[in-house]
């Protein structure tokens, strides 16, 4: 009997001890509204939040009222649920006087094809902002089938208590654990500009800290630029620190850190960013794809301009300018980033009007991210003059000799002579790619009695084309000393093409 009593006493003792441990009496916790991702980023699920509060209160936790939590969120303009910044965790400790914060998200909530719920919760310790416990649970009605279907959950709402019970099944018993006091500064914002610059140019840094310290514990704030330390002074009462300096030193990357020193000797360093000193200009070479005539790049209606980056690096912007022989700017175009791989110029002004024949200077300029520039220029000739050709015919016995001549500077790429009799039947067809040339055409008795008509087409290497109309070849031959040259009004009118 005494042995049984002792066993009963011991069992009772252990049960009470266990209950005391798990109830974690006196621990104050703030339960933030649960985010409901099924309603989007801004969704909130109050029923599950209330169920969670209810179950945790039953576990002995001291729950901060919903109103206090909501007013804290409003005060700090916390708009996103399911997450908290370390700053707000510490602020909650101070303002709500809580040791723990519970945040969470309803990951899924769906009715079809069967009601299903999924929840994830995190327990945050306000002392150091650490997540000390987390759990996730998912449940659907099919998971909760019971024998004979008695009290089986049928709706989403029926799943709430079961889900919360599941998720709190591993609720930590040791929730009172104290954390090591951590020193930290809260960086609200920081910017460093510019990121790329040349030596001697101004760099600027602005830092906004959230003061979470008492006035007597104000830390010293120092900016570490490369290896150089610069003390920062706060703009009165604003928590803003600003500093600008002349960048100096060889090309390279310069990290900028914020170093805070606390009165007790503790130091903290935060990397704000880096800036790059770049004094090396980018490399540029302009290549023009035209025809080289008399050592000049010449074109008629289309010139390919290829900017070649000899030392590739990201660029800020580019500009291309067209100037005439007197140096007057006729056309200019620019863009951001690297220039296109290939540009085309038709020899026209911005309004589409063609420039007259002559020499033009094409200048391309580029700027890298630090503002270093590179420039290259090339001369180019626009030539739209039609080929100057002559035709001379001579009768010699049974044949007619035709001399085709060329007096222009631009080499010929193709010519074609097409002659027909009065009935339109082909008399002769000759072509070639060299001028001057002589053509011998046999002449029958019948041919001598009729007019031989035709045309001569000549095209130069630039694509300029001349067309000479021959009304009567034989009459031309009779006037031996007379040449037919390119008429002034010859045009690019369509003729029977090859």
């Amino acid at each position: 009997m005494p042995r049984r009593l002792l066993t009963l006493f011991l069992a009772l003792f252990f049960i009470l001890a266990w209950q005391n441990d798990t109830r974690a009496e006196g621990v104050k916790i703030a339960i933030f509204p649960l985010q409901d991702l099924s309603q989007g980023d801004d969704g909130v699920n109050w029923p599950l939040t209330d169920q969670l509060s209810h179950d945790l209160a039953e576990k002995g936790m001291e729950i901060v009222s919903r109103q206090a939590v909501v007013s804290f969120m409003v005060r700090h303009r916390i708009r996103t649920l399911g997450q908290l910044e370390a700053y707000y965790i510490r602020a909650a400790k101070k303002e709500l006087d809580v040791k723990l914060i519970l945040i969470g998200s309803v990951c899924q909530k769906k009715e079809q094809p069967g009601p299903a719920l999924a929840l994830v919760v995190y327990l945050l310790r306000t002392e150091d902002g650490k997540t000390t416990w987390a759990n996730t649970a998912d449940l659907c009605c099919a998971d909760t089938r019971r024998l004979l279907g008695i009290n089986e959950p049928k709706t989403i709402e029926d799943l709430y208590p079961l889900l919360i019970s599941n998720i709190l099944s591993s609720w930590p018993t040791d929730v009172k654990a104290q954390a090591k006091k951590l020193f930290s500064v809260d960086l609200e914002s920081a910017w460093l500009r510019p990121t790329y610059l040349r030596s001697g140019h101004d760099a600027q840094c602005s830092v906004h800290l959230r003061s979470t310290w008492l006035p007597q514990n104000q830390p010293d704030v120092v900016l570490k630029i490369g290896e150089q330390l610069v003390p920062l002074t706060e703009s009165t009462g604003t928590d803003y620190y600003e500093f600008s300096w002349k960048a100096a030193g060889p090309d390279g990357r310069y990290p900028v850190s914020l170093v805070t020193s606390w009165p007790d000797g503790h130091k903290q360093s935060l990397l704000l960013g880096s800036y790059f000193i770049d004094n090396k200009p980018p490399g540029l070479k302009l290549r023009l794809k035209g025809i080289l005539i008399n050592d000049k790049i010449t074109f008629r209606n289309r010139l390919s301009i290829i900017p070649i980056m000899t030392d590739r690096e990201p660029l800020n912007r580019w500009q291309i300018t067209f100037k005439d022989g007197k140096g007057e700017t006729l056309l200019s175009q620019d863009g951001s980033g690297i220039p296109p791989e290939r540009l085309f110029w038709r020899g026209n002004a911005a309004n589409g009007k063609p420039f007259p024949d002559g020499d033009y200077r094409i200048i391309m300029k580029i700027w890298d991210r630090a503002g270093n520039t590179a420039e290259d220029a090339q001369w180019v000739t626009v030539l739209r003059t039609k080929p100057e050709v002559s035709i001379k015919a001579t009768l010699a016995g049974d044949e007619v000799i035709i001399d085709l001549g060329h007096t222009g500077q631009t080499p010929i790429s193709y010519w074609r002579l097409n002659l027909r009799d009065k009935d339109g039947i082909g008399f002769a067809f000759k072509d070639g790619d060299l001028l001057p040339t002589t053509i011998h055409l046999p002449l029958s008795a019948e041919n001598r009695q009729q007019k031989i008509k035709g045309s001569l087409m000549v095209r130069d290497v630039l694509g300029n084309q001349s067309q000479i109309k021959i009304d009567d070849l034989l009459s031309l031959a009779k006037q031996e000393d007379k040449d037919v040259t390119t008429p002034k009004d010859s045009n690019d009118a369509w003729v029977d093409e090859f």
């Binding site: 399911g82 908290l84 999924a118 994830v120 987390a134 996730t136 998912d138 850190s257 960013g273």
Partner: protein, 215 residues
């Protein structure tokens, strides 16, 4: 003439033994068949060795969603983070702090930070490792009264100081693969699949040498 047949008499012990063997064989077969559906393991590529010192500070960066399932990145991110916190003593950076630095550095939600940005994040979050995740496929196919969620994700373990990807893990699963008998074990939500996949990935990582924090 009667055929001379020999009848083998079974003793009760031998009979029981044969029955037990038959049941055992049947159960083994069931196990093989059922596990055959579920035996899908994450694929781990170890691109570089982990540092010898166990990490204590880890930051999980917002996942990138390349699937058509809205919120898949957020759901899997939160669940993976919870599983990571559950299975280790790592100090995992708060999601709020990570997203704040994303805003400060002007990194858009579906973007992966560049090398310089990773360095700044590593310093400000005081982290040794980044976990960068991409959801490649997420969908819930409904057939009859049950949904079959499918999830494919890639998780990279990145060294915060060098910005190098040390480990890359690819994992793909379907809810039906977890089914045991009848409806038991069947997973019908993306969240459920994400939870189990996260556990499988973390188990693999620990098995392959990721050490828990010892501080």
């Amino acid at each position: 003439m009667a055929k001379n047949t020999k009848k083998i008499a079974l003793s009760p012990e031998r009979y029981r033994g044969l029955i037990s063997a038959a049941i055992g064989a049947l159960l083994s077969l069931c196990l093989v068949v059922l596990n055959g559906c579920g035996a899908r393991f994450p694929e781990l590529q170890q691109l570089a060795p982990l540092p010898s010192k166990p990490p204590c500070h880890i930051a999980v960066l917002p996942f990138v969603n390349k699937s058509k399932y809205v919120q898949a990145d957020r759901i899997v991110y939160k669940i993976f983070m919870a599983e990571l916190l559950q299975s280790t003593q790592y100090r995992v950076a708060q999601e709020g702090d990570v997203r704040k630095i994303y805003r400060q550095l002007k990194i858009y939600p579906q973007q992966t930070p560049q090398f310089d940005q990773l360095k700044i994040m590593a310093d400000r979050l005081n982290t040794q490792f980044f976990i960068i995740g991409t959801i490649l496929k997420a969908q819930e196919q409904t057939s009859g009264r049950a949904a079959n969620p499918q999830l494919t994700m890639m998780l990279d373990l990145v060294d915060a100081t060098s910005g190098k990807t040390l480990w890359s893990t690819y994992h793909t699963r379907e809810g039906i693969q977890y089914q045991k008998v009848m409806h038991f074990g069947l997973v019908t939500t993306i969240s459920g699949v994400a939870r189990r996949m996260s556990q499988e990935i973390l188990n693999l990582w620990f098995r392959e040498g990721l050490q828990p924090c010892t501080e």
